[in-house]
Symmetry: C2
Subunit: 202 residues, 2 copies
């Protein structure tokens, strides 16, 4: 179905143009008109692919999440089979942070998406769903690591999962140059060392 | 000098109007025109108080930080003299999170300000300076707590300070209803319990 493929490709090209607008100029410039210009489409042509700004933004966010999941899956291959849960959690957490250009673009998209969500019910529901799914993945890893003796059995998997997710709070500190990448990785590693301090399965 | 007072009061009234625009409608509506309308000023009259959108935004952020510091100072009075460093850190950290209407407004301003900073050098420098000062305050408390035996002497004050600041990462999880206030407070308390586990001065 070449027509379908073409349609998907065009939507992805528009999503990438949207990322560039968000990353280079900021969310206050994020209009359908601005994205059309960046993508080299006419305003009317772009509306053929996305009926509204919200639809365009949600697609761009979903596509960013897919790309992020692909990066994690590729990096996972280098971690052994199955990967140690500490290494897997470290990989997932550092992918959330603006530590390299790809994850920085996704991170900026995410921050813009959360701010939009506060004033748009549809985006709120989708953003919430995405975060809940990510949270579930982390909690599953934490529970498995407890069951397998990598994390001490007296640790509360819910609280530990929530603390791991909170580490995404390094984002503004990195973006504003308050902390360097090395500072952040040292802190992430220290936190993981504490969590895996009694690793019986190492 | 009533004229000076009046000028300051008008600027604060405009700053509060700006907060309402950011909180209720979002940063994509944050224009001088929109703030003027919310404040009940003409566009020209508002420009008498702020020469540019950036100047207005920076003043609104500084004023939000001042209000936040006042709330912390007021709450500190209920903590004993001197307050226990664990209680003081908990107070400062929870003030960063959107757990009550005032801190939620400041938190949304802060998130919008960080996104603006990515595309404006002046705002970047000011936002960075504000975060560095906040970070210094937390590090000073952590170092004192180590010196006073509240935190174990083998803890690295820099890493511990950075991990405490990262807890601001609960913000999007609260804003999108992924976690409830109780979940977040439980996680913050668990983290502080770990940090103060060997409190010799309790």
């Amino acid at each position: 179905m070449p027509k379908q493929v073409d349609h998907r490709e065009r939507r992805e090209a528009i999503a990438r143009a949207l990322w560039r607008v968000v990353e280079q100029r900021g969310i206050s410039h994020l209009t359908v008109r601005e994205v059309a210009r960046e993508a080299g489409f006419s305003h009317g042509h772009l509306q053929h692919y996305f009926a509204s700004r919200e639809e365009m933004l949600s697609f761009a966010m979903d596509f960013a999440s897919e790309q992020s999941a692909l990066r994690v899956a590729r990096a996972r291959e280098g971690l052994g089979d199955p990967p140690h849960p500490r290494a897997m959690l470290r990989l997932m957490l550092t992918e959330l942070l603006p530590l390299h250009p790809d994850s920085r673009a996704t991170s900026r998209m995410g921050a813009a998406y959360v701010l939009e969500a506060l004033h748009d019910e549809t985006i709120h529901a989708r953003a919430r769903e995405g975060l809940l799914q990510g949270r579930d993945q982390v909690e599953r890893l934490v529970r498995e690591a407890i069951a397998d003796g990598h994390i001490a059995p007296d640790r509360d998997p819910v609280v530990e999962t929530n603390l791991l997710l909170a580490l995404s709070g390094f984002t503004p500190l990195l973006e504003l140059g308050v902390l360097a990448a090395d500072d952040v990785l040292a802190a992430v590693d220290h936190h993981l060392d504490g969590l895996f301090a009694h690793d019986a399965g190492a």
